[in-house]
Symmetry: C2
Subunit: 334 residues, 2 copies
C-alpha cells in the first residue's frame, strides 16, 4: 500500500512535469525561495592575473574601484531606483575608471585605437540596446541605453552609432582621453606576440526592489583585435541577457567562444527549461561547454530571487556583489 502511494505521487509528478514541458513557462514554480530585496553583481573582467604577481598596490586599487562601484549600485538599489538605471550608472562609473578595459582605459585594436562595444538589457520588457565599434562616445553604455530607448533598432555599429547618439547630447571624447599608457604597452606586447592579460571588460547585473532584472556589459574588446571586430559584449544573448522570469547575465572572456555558445542566453535557457540552479547553470558553461571549444573567461549572474552566481575558468576575475545581507569584493579564487 505504501508503494502504491509512492507510485501515485510519482504519477502526479510526472503528469505535472509533462504539463510544464508542454507549457514552457518562462517561470519555474515559486518554490518558496527567500527573495532578496535587491541584489547586485559586478565584474571587472576575467583574466590571467596571479596572486603572486599582482602587486598589493594594484590589488588594492582594483578592490577600491570595485568597492566604489558596488557601494554606488547598492545605494541606488536600496533607494528603489530602477534596475536598468542602476546598471547604466554603475557601468558609467566603471567606464570612467581607467583601471578597466571599458571607456577610459579601453585596450587598443590593431590600429592603435580604442574601439568600444556595449550592451544593456531590461529583463521586464526584454528591451535591449547595443553599440559596436564606437570610438568617440565617452560612455558607450549610455549609447547602448539611448539605442534601446530612442531608436527602432537594438544594435547600431561604428560611426553610424556615433552619429545617431551625438545629436542626443551624449558626451564625446577624443582618442587621447581613452588611451592609457597601460593600453599602449599591452598593444606593444601583443604585437610582439607576448602574452597579454585579457582582463578588464566590465559588467553589471542587478535585481531591483520591484523585482526587475537588468544587465549590461561594456568593453574595449581584445588587445590587438582586428578593427571592426565585434565581440560578445555588444551581442544580446552572447555577452548580455536579462529576463525577469529567470535571470540576468553578463560575460567576460574570449568573446568569439561566447558568441558561438550564446552563453548569456544559454544560462537563461537552462533556468527557463531545466531544474538546475543558477550556479549549476553557470558551472556547466564554465567547466564543460566553454572548455569544449577552448573558451576562457567568466560569467556573473543573478536570478529573480536575488541568488548570486558566478564562475571563471581563468586564474582571476575581478568581481563584487552585494545584497542587503552580504557584501564581497574578490579577485582570485576563494
Amino acid at each position: 500500500m505504501k508503494l502504491y502511494f509512492i507510485l501515485l505521487f510519482s504519477f502526479i509528478l510526472s503528469v505535472q512535469s509533462t504539463l510544464d514541458a508542454q507549457v514552457i513557462l518562462n517561470a519555474r514554480d515559486d518554490d518558496k525561495q527567500e527573495k532578496q530585496e535587491w541584489a547586485i553583481i559586478i565584474h571587472g573582467g576575467a583574466g590571467g592575473m596571479q596572486p603572486q604577481s599582482l602587486s598589493e598596490k594594484r590589488a588594492a586599487q582594483y578592490k577600491s574601484s570595485l568597492e566604489k562601484a558596488l557601494s554606488r549600485g547598492s545605494e541606488l538599489l536600496d533607494q528603489g531606483i530602477d534596475g536598468i538605471d542602476v546598471v547604466e550608472q554603475v557601468i558609467e562609473l566603471l567606464e570612467n575608471d581607467s583601471s578597466f578595459n571599458a571607456g577610459r582605459g579601453a585596450v587598443l585594436n590593431s590600429q592603435g585605437q580604442a574601439e568600444m562595444d556595449a550592451s544593456i538589457m531590461d529583463g521586464e520588457s526584454l528591451n535591449a540596446g547595443a553599440v559596436a565599434g564606437v570610438k568617440r562616445i565617452k560612455n558607450p553604455i549610455k549609447a547602448a541605453r539611448l539605442v534601446m530607448d530612442s531608436s527602432r533598432h537594438v544594435m547600431l555599429s561604428g560611426q553610424a552609432a556615433e552619429e545617431y547618439c551625438i545629436p542626443y547630447g551624449l558626451d564625446t571624447a577624443n582618442q587621447r582621453y581613452f588611451i592609457t599608457q597601460k593600453a599602449r604597452q599591452a598593444l606593444k606586447r601583443a604585437r610582439a606576440k607576448e602574452k597579454v592579460n585579457k582582463s578588464g571588460t566590465v559588467g553589471v547585473v542587478v535585481l531591483d526592489r520591484e523585482g526587475h532584472i537588468a544587465a549590461g556589459t561594456s568593453t574595449g574588446g581584445m588587445t590587438n583585435k582586428r578593427y571592426g571586430r565585434v565581440g560578445d559584449s555588444p551581442i544580446i544573448g552572447a555577452g548580455t541577457y536579462a529576463d525577469d522570469n529567470t535571470c540576468g547575465v553578463s560575460c567576460t572572456g574570449h568573446g568569439e567562444m561566447y558568441i558561438r555558445l550564446a552563453v548569456a542566453h544559454d544560462i537563461h535557457a537552462m533556468m527557463a527549461y531545466t531544474d538546475l540552479s543558477l550556479q549549476e547553470a553557470v558551472d556547466i558553461v564554465i567547466e564543460k561547454k566553454l572548455p569544449s571549444i577552448n573558451g576562457t573567461g567568466g560569467i556573473i549572474a543573478l536570478d529573480k530571487y536575488g541568488n548570486i552566481a558566478y564562475g571563471f575558468n581563468t586564474s582571476s576575475m575581478l568581481r563584487a556583489y552585494a545584497t542587503p545581507e552580504k557584501r564581497e569584493v574578490e579577485i582570485f579564487r576563494d
Copy 2:
C-alpha cells in the same frame, strides 16, 4: 492491478526525466527515430504577401527561384558534399537572384544604399562567421564563411569586414549591381510612410550525409533602416544557429525582436533541454514568444534526424524543403 502497472511505468518515466534534467546532455535519447540521409530547408523571407494580390507571374518566379536553389542544394547533399559548403553555395545562388533581399536585390537603407549582413554556422564544430553592414562584397555569405575559416574572429563589421575579405579575392560589386528598381521603389514608399513588404531575407539549413548540420542567413535588412543598424541575420544565436546535437535554424522577420529573444539559440535550447519536438519549439516561438513582444516573421529549422520544421506569423513565407523522400515549394499557408 492495471493501474499499478501504469503507475510503475510513470514512476520509471519520472525518474528518467529527473536524471535527464540533471545531466543536461546536449543530446536527447536516440529514440529510434528514422534518420533522413540528408535534408534541406530554404527560406526566401517571411512577409505580408497575400494570395489575392500576388500575381501568378510573380508567384511563378519566386517558386522557380526556390526550385533552382532547392535542386542545387539537394544534388550537392546527395553527392555527399559537406553541409557547410552546401549552405554557402545555395545562399550564393539566392544572393545572385534579384528576387530576394540579399546580395543583388537587397533592400536599401535610409541613405539609399544596399548594406548587407550575413552569417554562417557549422553544427559540428560550432564554428561560425558573420559580417555586418558590407556594401561592396558581391556575396556576403562568402564573406561570412571567410571570417569563419580564416580570421580569429566570428564577426566583422562594415568597411573593416570588406577590407578583411577583399585581399582574399572575394568578388566585389558596386552599389549599382545590388540596387534594383524594386528596392528603389520600396525605399520611396517607406519614406512616404507607406507599408513596405519586409519579405526577402534568405536562409538555408541542411543536414548532410555525415550527419552534420549547418545553417546560414543573408539579408539586406529592413527597407529604410538606419545605416549602421545590425539586425538578427548576422548575429549567431539570433538569426542563425546550428549544433549537430540538436538542430539548425535560420530566421527571417523583424530582426530586433529576434535579437531580444535570441530566437535561433532558443530553438536549439528547447531541443537540448526539453522534450519538445522541433516543430513544437518553432510553434512556441512563432505563436507565443514573438507575439508577446509584437514580433513578426518566420523560422526554418531541421533537427539531427532530418525532421523539417517551419513557422511564420506573417501571411507568407517563401520556403522550400527536401529530403530523399519528399520535396515542397510553398509561399502561403497550406
